[in-house]
C-alpha cells in the first residue's frame, strides 16, 4: 500500500504542475490581455491576438504530450506501467 500511496502522491504532484501551467495559459495571461496586446509577439502578430490564435492552443498540445510522458515515467518507476505498446 505504501507503494501505491507514493505513486499517487507523485501523480498528484504532476497534476498540480500541469494544471498550474494550464491555468496560466488558458486564463492567467488574459487578465492582462489589453496590456499584452501592445507588445509584438511571434511572427509579428500582436501578442494577445497571437495567444488566442495559436500560442495557447499549441501550448496545450505540447503540455498534454509532456504530461503523458511524465506520467508514464512515474508509472514505470513504481512498476505500474502496462505492457505492450499503443
Amino acid at each position: 500500500m505504501a507503494k501505491n500511496a507514493q505513486h499517487w502522491e507523485k501523480t498528484r504532484g504532476l497534476l498540480f504542475v500541469t494544471l498550474a501551467i494550464w491555468a496560466v495559459f488558458s486564463m492567467g495571461i488574459f487578465l492582462f490581455g489589453a496590456e499584452m496586446n501592445e507588445v509584438t509577439g511571434p511572427f509579428g502578430y500582436p501578442l494577445t491576438y497571437w495567444f488566442t490564435c495559436q500560442g495557447s492552443l499549441a501550448i496545450f498540445v505540447i503540455l498534454i504530450f509532456w504530461f503523458a510522458g511524465r506520467q508514464e515515467k512515474i508509472d514505470e518507476e513504481f512498476g505500474f506501467s502496462e505492457k505492450g505498446d499503443d
Binding site: 488558458s26 492582462f32 490581455g33 502578430y45 498534454i64 508514464e72 502496462e82 505492457k83 499503443d86
Partner: protein
C-alpha cells in the same frame, strides 16, 4: 477485411483513402474545366463521400457487445485522435467559427482557447482513470463508482439533456448542406442527412463510428486547409498564412482607423436581412473584459471535460497509457483546424475591405458592387447585403453586411478559386456535422440501452437482444433529433454552447470527484447532479426571460453557476452522509493504478 491485421494496416488503408480522395478532387477539377456544372459537382462531392462513409459503416458491422460499445478497445492513439477531432469539430466549428472570429474578434476567440484547453482537463483529471475503470459509457462509470440505479439514471438524464441539445444543431447543419448541394427542400434534406448518419453507426456501433470518423476527419481537414492556403497565395498574402499574416492583420487595423466604426441607426438596421451583420469590432484588438473572456473560456473547458460523447472516445484505446497520449493527438488534430480559422477570417476580411485589392468593395460605388457576380450569388443566398444608408453612392464599412457562414462558404469564390473548391467545402462541412451527430446519437442510445435497459430493466438480456435494443434506440433518437431540427427553432451556435453548460452543470464534479475524492459518495453525487442541472437550467431561464444575472455570468456561461452549486451540494451532502463502502474505496484505489485488469472486470 476489418479483422485482425486491419489494425496493423491502418496507415496503409487510410493512406490509400486519402490519395483516392485527392484523386477525386482532381477528377472534379478536370470535370469543371470540361464544362461540368456547379450543381453536378456539388452532388458528386456529397454523394461520393456519403457513399464511402456508408461503405465503411457496413464493413464495420458487428455482433459483439465490446465492438459495438467501445470498438473492441483496439483503436491506436493517432487514429483515435483523428476520430476524436472529427467527433469534436461540429458543423458549427467548420462553418460558423471563422465567421464568429470575423465579426466578434477577441471576445469570440475565448472559444478557441476553451475548446482546446478543456482537453488538458480531460487528459489529467478523467480520461485515464475512466479508461481503467473499463466502463462502456459515462453513466456506467457513475453507476459503478457511486452504486445504485438512481445515480446511474441521473447521469443518463444529464447526458441526454446535454447531448440532445447539441445533436439537433448537427442534424440541422447536415440538412442545410444536403439541401443546398442536392437542391431539395430543407424538410426532406434533414431526413436524408439523418439516414446518412445512421448508415455509419447502426451496424457497427462505436466501431463503425470510429472508422467513419477517421475518414470524415481526413475530408474535413483537407476541405478546410486547402482553401485557406490557396486564398492566401491568390491574394498575395503569403504561402504559409499562419506565419505570414502579421502585415495583413496590421493593415486591417489601419483600414479600421481610416474608415472608423460608424454606428447605424435602428431604422437603417431594420432594413438589413435577418441574420446578417456588419463589421463593428476591431479585428485584433482586445474588445472584451478579462472576466468576459476568462469566464467563457472556463465554461467551455469544464464543459469539454464533461461531454460524454468525447469522453467515450477514450474508452476505445488499448490501454490507459494510450488513452493519455490519444488526448494529445486529439488536440493536435483539432489545433490544425482551429489555428486556421482566424487566418481565414483575416484573409476574408482583408479581401473584402481593402480598396487596394481587386476584390475589395469598400469605397466602390453601390451599383458597381451590385453588378459583381459573386455578390449577386451570395446576396441571393441571403448571405450578403449592401445598402447606401448615407446616400453618397459608395459602399462604406458600415454599409456592408454578411452572414457568419459566408466567411467559409463565400471567400473561396471571392478570391477567385474554382467551383470545385466550393464543392469540397460542402463535403467538409457535411463530414464535420455528420461525425459529431454520429458520436452524439451513439452516446445517447448507448447510455439508454446499456445503462437503463441492460443494467436496470433486464440484466439477463442476451447480447443479441441488447444490440437490437441499442439499434432501435439509435433510430428512434435520430428521428426525434431530426424532427426537432426540421422545426428550426434554435440557431446553430447557441444550442452548441448550451450543451457545454448543461454538461458541466450536472456532470463535471461527479466525474472529477469520483476519481479524485474517495470520500465522495452516492448521496453527494446525486445531489450534485440534480442540483447542478436544475440550478443551471433555472439560471438560463431567468437570464433568458430578462433577468439581470450576477457576476457577469451570461446565458452562454450559466454552467459556471450550475457547476458551483453542484460542487457545494456534492461536498456538503457527502460529508453529511456516511463514507462509501470499503469495496468502493478499493475500486477507486484500483483505478489509480494503470497496470492490471479493468476495475469493472467482465466486460473487457
Amino acid at each position: 477485411m476489418i479483422k485482425g491485421n486491419f489494425i496493423d494496416n491502418l496507415p496503409k488503408v487510410y493512406g490509400i483513402y486519402t490519395g483516392g480522395f485527392i484523386g477525386f478532387i482532381v477528377l472534379m477539377a478536370i470535370g469543371e474545366s470540361m464544362g461540368m456544372t456547379a450543381k453536378a459537382i456539388g452532388i458528386c462531392f456529397v454523394g461520393f463521400t456519403i457513399f464511402i462513409y456508408a461503405l465503411i459503416g457496413w464493413l464495420s458491422r458487428t455482433a459483439q457487445a465490446s465492438n459495438y460499445y467501445v470498438a473492441g478497445r483496439t483503436v491506436p492513439t493517432v487514429f483515435n485522435g483523428m476520430a476524436t477531432a472529427a467527433d469534436w469539430m461540429s458543423g458549427a466549428s467548420f462553418v460558423a467559427m471563422a465567421g464568429g472570429i470575423y465579426f466578434k474578434g477577441y471576445g469570440y476567440m475565448a472559444l478557441l482557447v476553451g475548446w482546446t484547453g478543456g482537453y488538458v482537463l480531460v487528459a489529467t483529471l478523467l480520461a485515464p482513470y475512466l479508461r481503467k475503470f473499463g466502463c462502456y459509457t459515462v453513466p456506467d462509470f457513475v453507476g459503478t463508482r457511486y452504486g445504485g440505479n438512481t445515480a446511474r439514471l441521473m447521469a443518463v438524464i444529464v447526458l441526454t439533456v446535454a447531448s440532445f441539445t447539441y445533436v439537433t444543431a448537427q442534424i440541422n447543419a447536415t440538412g442545410t448542406i444536403a439541401a443546398v448541394a442536392l437542391d431539395i427542400p430543407f424538410q426532406y434534406a434533414v431526413y436524408v442527412g439523418l439516414v446518412s448518419i445512421l448508415l455509419c453507426s447502426m451496424l457497427g456501433g462505436m466501431r463503425g463510428v470510429t472508422w467513419t470518423q477517421v475518414a470524415q476527419y481526413i475530408v474535413l481537414i483537407i476541405a478546410y486547409l486547402l482553401p485557406v492556403f490557396w486564398i492566401s497565395n491568390n491574394i498575395g498574402a503569403g504561402f504559409f498564412p499562419h506565419f505570414m499574416l502579421a502585415d495583413e492583420v496590421a493593415r486591417i487595423g489601419e483600414l479600421e482607423q481610416q474608415f472608423g466604426f460608424v454606428k447605424n441607426s435602428a431604422a437603417d438596421l431594420a432594413t438589413v436581412p435577418k441574420g446578417l451583420a456588419g463589421i463593428t469590432k476591431a479585428h485584433s484588438e482586445v474588445n472584451a473584459t478579462p472576466w468576459a473572456f476568462i469566464s467563457l473560456a472556463l465554461a467551455m473547458m469544464m464543459g469539454t471535460a464533461s461531454l460524454p460523447h468525447v469522453m467515450m472516445r477514450f474508452f476505445t484505446t488499448p490501454s490507459v497509457k494510450a488513452a493519455r497520449k490519444s488526448v494529445g493527438w486529439s488536440v493536435f488534430f483539432i489545433f490544425l483546424l482551429y489555428s486556421s480559422a482566424p487566418m481565414l477570417a483575416t484573409l476574408s476580411k482583408l479581401a473584402l475591405i481593402d480598396p487596394n485589392l481587386p476584390t475589395g468593395i469598400i469605397g466602390k460605388s453601390i451599383a458597381e458592387v451590385q453588378a459583381i457576380d459573386w455578390y449577386q450569388n451570395w446576396n441571393q443566398a441571403n448571405l450578403m447585403f449592401v445598402s447606401d444608408f448615407n446616400g453618397n453612392g459608395t459602399v462604406e464599412l458600415n454599409e456592408f453586411f454578411m452572414g457568419g457562414k459566408a466567411v467559409v462558404l463565400a471567400t473561396p469564390e471571392i478570391a477567385g478559386l474554382p467551383y470545385v473548391i466550393s464543392g469540397l467545402v460542402a463535403a467538409g462541412g457535411l463530414a464535420a456535422a455528420m461525425s459529431t451527430a454520429d458520436g452524439l446519437i451513439l452516446a445517447i442510445a448507448n447510455a439508454i440501452s446499456h445503462d437503463v435497459y441492460y443494467k436496470m430493466v433486464d440484466p439477463k438480456a442476451e447480447t443479441a437482444k441488447r444490440l437490437v435494443v441499442a439499434r432501435v434506440l439509435l433510430v428512434v433518437i435520430g428521428f426525434a433529433g431530426a424532427t426537432i431540427a426540421a422545426m428550426e427553432i434554435q440557431g446553430i451556435l447557441g444550442s452548441v454552447i448550451w450543451a457545454f453548460d448543461f454538461a458541466m452543470s450536472g456532470l463535471f464534479w461527479p466525474l472529477v470527484l469520483g476519481v479524485w475524492w474517495k470520500r465522495a459518495n452516492k448521496e453527494g453525487a446525486i445531489a450534485g447532479m440534480v442540483l447542478g442541472l436544475v440550478s443551471g437550467f433555472a439560471y438560463l431561464v431567468w437570464v433568458r426571460s430578462g433577468g439581470s444575472g450576477f457576476l457577469g455570468i451570461t446565458q452562454l456561461t450559466f454552467g459556471i453557476f450550475g457547476s458551483t452549486v453542484s460542487l457545494v451540494a456534492m461536498v456538503v451532502v457527502s460529508l453529511m452522509t456516511s463514507a462509501p463502502s470499503a469495496a468502493t474505496q478499493k475500486m477507486v484505489d484500483d483505478s489509480r493504478v494503470p497496470a492490471g485488469a479493468s476495475v469493472i472486470g467482465g466486460q473487457k
